[in-house]
Symmetry: C2
Subunit: 144 residues, 2 copies
DNA sequence: TCAATAAAAGATAAAAAAGTCTTTTATTGT
DNA sequence: ACAATAAAAGACTTTTTTATCTTTTATTGA
């Protein structure tokens, strides 16, 4: 569904958001630990998220990453996915046709269109705030 | 969604099925051409499909691959997907948690469960016959 | 100002997926 | 029996993804 990179990115954002809810800025070590990801690789991912203005990054002592509450209420999961995996999951044909459309449909065009629409709706309507609260409340998890 | 290998496999099966509908056995060159896949790689994929009894293979002159009409009415797309990609798409957590469940849910557990169920239903109920007819009738395509 | 901290940037490395090439085996028709 | 055909099997190569290691830059507080 998503690349490993994208999975880590989504989990990292949710973790950072949940910590930002209690005014805590978190470092890479922290994140890697919270989402069970390789530390150095997580650093690379954070660079992309930071460049795409999905998270705020602060260098130096007491630095780390954060997402202001106002921002996390705006940011949709779709933005994270687009930053990491592009918009393949939103657009591309399930069987890999380059020009799959109503005029040139693959044998599963209509069926996949429905599924893609559901995925798109989920990712375009869910905000980081929406998912961060469940984590903060101990109702959901990012490990195991 | 699917690996490239799996996409080729699905398309190959649909093409073979559609040709079997008119009593035509098809060779690897034929298939590769019909689905725009690399020929040698397609050969490798056919080996897997053959070993998994999804297609019948015949060696020697006039040999090739076929799927008897009775068989294609039984074979679900899910069997092809399982042979190539395993059952990750049917089972595994969208965020990559190893033990994602009602008791230890990832933040998107319920939402993904719904989408996975839809995908599973589609793949488990659609037979090769179902999709081969549309191709044979020129209503759907495997290229472009 | 300087040592410590933490992310950014850059260069590699390892693993997995995608793809190719060569040799072998099975089948067919002459 | 044997030449031709076509898939199976095995050994490789290339590309992409995942992951690591090192150096640089920015920030802080003593």
């Amino acid at each position: 569904m998503f690349s490993k990179t994208c999975e880590y990115a989504i989990k990292a954002c949710i973790y950072i958001a949940s910590q930002s809810l209690v005014q805590k800025r978190v470092g890479i070590k922290d994140i890697a630990q919270a989402i069970e990801s390789p530390e150095a690789f997580t650093g690379k991912i954070m660079q992309v998220l930071s460049k795409n203005h999905i998270v705020d990054s602060v260098k130096g002592p007491h630095g780390g990453f954060e997402i202001p509450e106002s921002a996390m209420k705006e940011k949709k999961l779709a933005e994270v996915v687009r930053a990491m995996d592009g918009d393949d999951i939103f657009k591309s044909c399930g069987l890999g046709l380059k020009e799959c459309s109503g005029a040139n449909p693959c044998p599963l065009h209509r069926q996949f269109a429905k599924i893609r629409a559901d995925i798109t709706k989920l990712l375009e309507t869910t905000t980081l705030f929406d998912v961060a609260t469940g984590l903060a409340d101990g109702l959901t998890f990012l490990k195991r």
